[in-house]
Structure formats: C-alpha cells, structure tokens
Amino acid sequence: MINTSDVLETIHMIQDQNLDIRTITMGISLLDCADGDLSRSCEKVYQKVTRCARDLVKTGEALEMEYGVPIINKRISVTPIAMLAAASGGDPVQYALALERAACEVGVNFIGGFSALVHKGFAAGDEALINAIPEALKRTDHVCSSVNIGSTKTGINLDAVRMMGRVVRRCAEITADNNCFAAAKLVVFCNAPEDNPFMAGAFHGAGEPDCVINVGVSGPGVVRAALAAAPDDLDITGVAELIKKTAFKITRMGQLIGTEASRRLGVPFGIVDLSLAPTPAVGDSVAHIIEEIGIEKCGGCGTTAALALLNDAVKKGGVMASSSVGGLSGAFIPVSEDAGMIDAARCGALSIEKLEAMTAVCSVGLDMIAIPGDTPAEVIAAIIADEAAIGMVNSKTTAVRVIPAVGRKAGEELEFGGLFGSGPIMKVNTFSPARFINRGGRIPAPLQSLKN
C-alpha cells in the first residue's frame, strides 16, 4: 500500500501549493517544409504542424484528468523560421500567419519559433525575419519570437544587438494600444538552448529530431511550503537539502507526464526542463522562496546568494529525477509573472541592477520587465548587451524580455493579464550608451570558449 502521508503530501502540493506541469511542448522540425515559393512553403508549414500536433491538446487533457495533475499549457516549438525564409524569400510575416492559423487549428496556447540565430552574423533570411518581428507579433496572438545574438563560442553580434534594441521598441510602439504586448512575446537570447519548452523563447533547434516532446515543470509554491514547514533554526545546508528533495519530487512528476505523453503521441521524449516557473497566482512565487529563506524582501542584500543556492539545489534534486534534463533548467525570475517580484519592485526593494546580478546565478535573464516608454533603443540594446555578456562569460543562457511601456513613466503599472501578469514600470539608467552600441561589429568570443 502507498504510504498515507505521501498520498496526502501529493494531494496537498497540487491543491494548495500550485504544483503543476507548466507545459508540454511539442518540437516540430520544419526543415522539410522549406520551399522556393513562399506561399507553398507556408502551406507546408501549416500542414506539418497541424498533422504532428493534431492530438497534442487532447492527449494533454486526457493525461491531466487521469493523473490528476494540472497541465497548464500545451505548446509547439518549430524550427527557426529564418531558415525557411532563407529558402523562400518574401515577407516572413506570412510564416507567422501560417503558424497562427495552425496554432488555432490544433488549439495550443502558444507556438514559438519565429526566430533567427545570428550570434555570429546574418545569413540569408535573418535580417528580413528580424525586421518582420514587430509586424508578425502584432498580427498574431499565439506566435512567439526569439533571436539569439550571442554565445560563449562566438561572442556577441553587436550589429544584431543594435538591431534588436530597435525591434523591441518597435514591437512596443505598434501595440501601444494593447499594453505594448508584442514586446512580451519577444526574447533576445545569448546561448539559447535548442530544446527549451518555455515561451516566449522556445524554438526547435536544427540538431533536434523531427518531432519531440519536451516538458517544463513548475512548483515554486511547493518549495516555499516545504521551507515554511521547516524549523526556524534549520541551517542553510539543511535548506539546500530540503529544496533538493522537493525538486526531486516535482521533476519526477514531469518525467512521468512527459514519458506518458510521448508514448501516447508516438513521438520521442526529449527533455524535462527543471525550471521553477512562477505565475502571478498567490503562493506560486520564486521571490517568496527567497523571502522564506530569510531575506526580508526579494532584492535586498543576500538575494543573489539565496537565489544561487536555490538554483543549484533545484538542479541537483531534479537531475536525478529525470532521464534527460535540458532546456533552461533553473529558477525563473520574471517580474510581472511573480507576485513576490511585483511587490518587491513596487516597494523599491528590487531594481533592474539587482535583477541583472541575480541573472548571473540563475535562469534566465531580465524577464518580463516593464521599462519607461521613453527609453531609447540604444539603451535597450545596451541592456541586451550587458545581459548577453553575463551569459557569454559564464557559459550560461541569458535573455532579455523588456517591455517599453509607451506613453508611461517609471512607477506606473502595465497590465497584461493571464500568465503574463502585471507589473510596475521600473527605472532604467539612461546615461547614453549610443556610441558603444553604434560601433557595431562583434565582441570576440571570450577565452572561456577555447576548451578544446
């Protein structure tokens, strides 16, 4: 017989502590859809996505019912569209519209992969795709976009960084009447993983199989509850142990659902992404874990150390629980999607500078941060360059997803709704980095890249 306290613990985690599978993401390769003719290429994309993902949502819902574990999102990631645009030429927005149609047809929550990988330079299709991002995100609801502008192996493409500063601004400007929402669906990466199931940065890398199932788990609430129930005098080693044990349990759930989904869909199982992904729901916050560890307010001194411990313990616990770990795998610190972060930013405990320091020790980067609407494109580009530098030097993934709140100032609020949440507009240092950004060229790869 199964142990009573184990059963009650699991029920409690799901009922009261927001344990869930954040996403089942099906990665689909579109390389075989490339065609010299744009409309034919788009049609092939639509056909392949709807064929592969036909049963994705239905299977997800059946698993949710049978196993009693909520599966919040069903998503699709595809081959970076820039690769298809290279073959077909023409307006890449057409691909976004085809992806949108396919996403609506199969009923998924998001489809990611309107992406380009330009960490070393621009190939055919890349520049056209990047320039089409604002229009593509404005005209679609489910399509997410990402651009990789740097890596440890290649350095940082400063031309691409400059371009992305403008693109992020443009995204916000053309959706100013809709809370600048397009910018929330665009991520700029350094060291982007090819098997990430989380949006907005998911895309299906060129080295991946034709079709694959990746799973992202979530469970900040469970970790926090475990810490809250621990004795007050538990030393920090004990705290790390406790987080490890909890992360193990959370990940096992992800592994179970992932393997079962892959079996039922007849698609190989890829990875479990060991990320602690918060939601705006009360009790599902990474900031609250930091506070539970003993920092009065997230962002206070000690936050970076506590987060480093949390991030490391989650990986150590999770890695044994899964046969294959990948994606971003770390604690997320998106501001608008985390009730504790929102509070901390509102009361002034948390600044962008502190968040930047935090991204050096956790996944993934400056995420879902609303910035003043008058922030110049060069400043946004420089924020991207700073973040990418942290990723490049530390051989880790970093990303920037900032939302310039057009027409609004620091201290006001921006409301997205749903999983995207809402957040205060944070103050940005506006001393001009224009000369640096406009130099262009490429920041050479660091010494860390020479491992052979």
Binding site: N3, D6, V7, L8, T10, I11, Y67, M253, L256
Partner: protein, 89 residues
C-alpha cells in the same frame, strides 16, 4: 492498472457507502482502504483497481468530483503511478 482515491472532509454518516457505491457502479474494484477520523475530519485513502472499469477514467474522475461536491467532501482520483514516481526511487 490502479488508482488512488482520497476523500477528505467533515465527517458524516454514509461517506464510505456513497464512495463504495460509486466505485461499484463504475466496476472499479476496491483493493484496500485506510480510513481515519481526526476530531471531525474524515480522511480516507482507497486503492482501487481500474483495469476493468466500464467507463473512461476521465468519466470516473468526473463522477467522483461531482459526488464530492454534492457531499461537501474533497474527493480525488489519481493514477497510482503519480505517487509511485514521486515518492519511490
């Protein structure tokens, strides 16, 4: 294939009977029952065999949830594998 059924709520007459009846209706065989009442909080964990149920698993889950709502109890049915994978190596 087995599932774990948990019932938690304020104790009153006939809980076990209602749940057992619903199991019988769905042709789910009850294998094991653990039940305690702490003060007036009723807590029961049942292991049921669902390999020969006469409806979809999702239908059984739905029926049990409905029964829970009608009786003011929190009833969950979850696949045994969830607990096995979470708590055993």
């Amino acid at each position: 294939m087995r599932a774990v059924l948990t019932v938690i709520g304020k104790d009153h007459v006939g809980i076990l009977s209602k749940v057992a009846n619903q199991c019988a209706e769905s042709n789910a065989n009850i294998i094991e029952v653990t039940q305690t009442v702490l003060q007036d909080l009723f807590c029961m964990i049942m292991m049921i065999d669902i390999s020969e149920v006469n409806c979809e698993m999702s239908e059984l889950v739905y029926q049990m949830n409905r029964l829970g709502e009608e009786s003011g109890l929190s009833i969950h049915v979850m696949h045994e594998d969830v607990f096995n994978s979470m708590h055993r190596i």
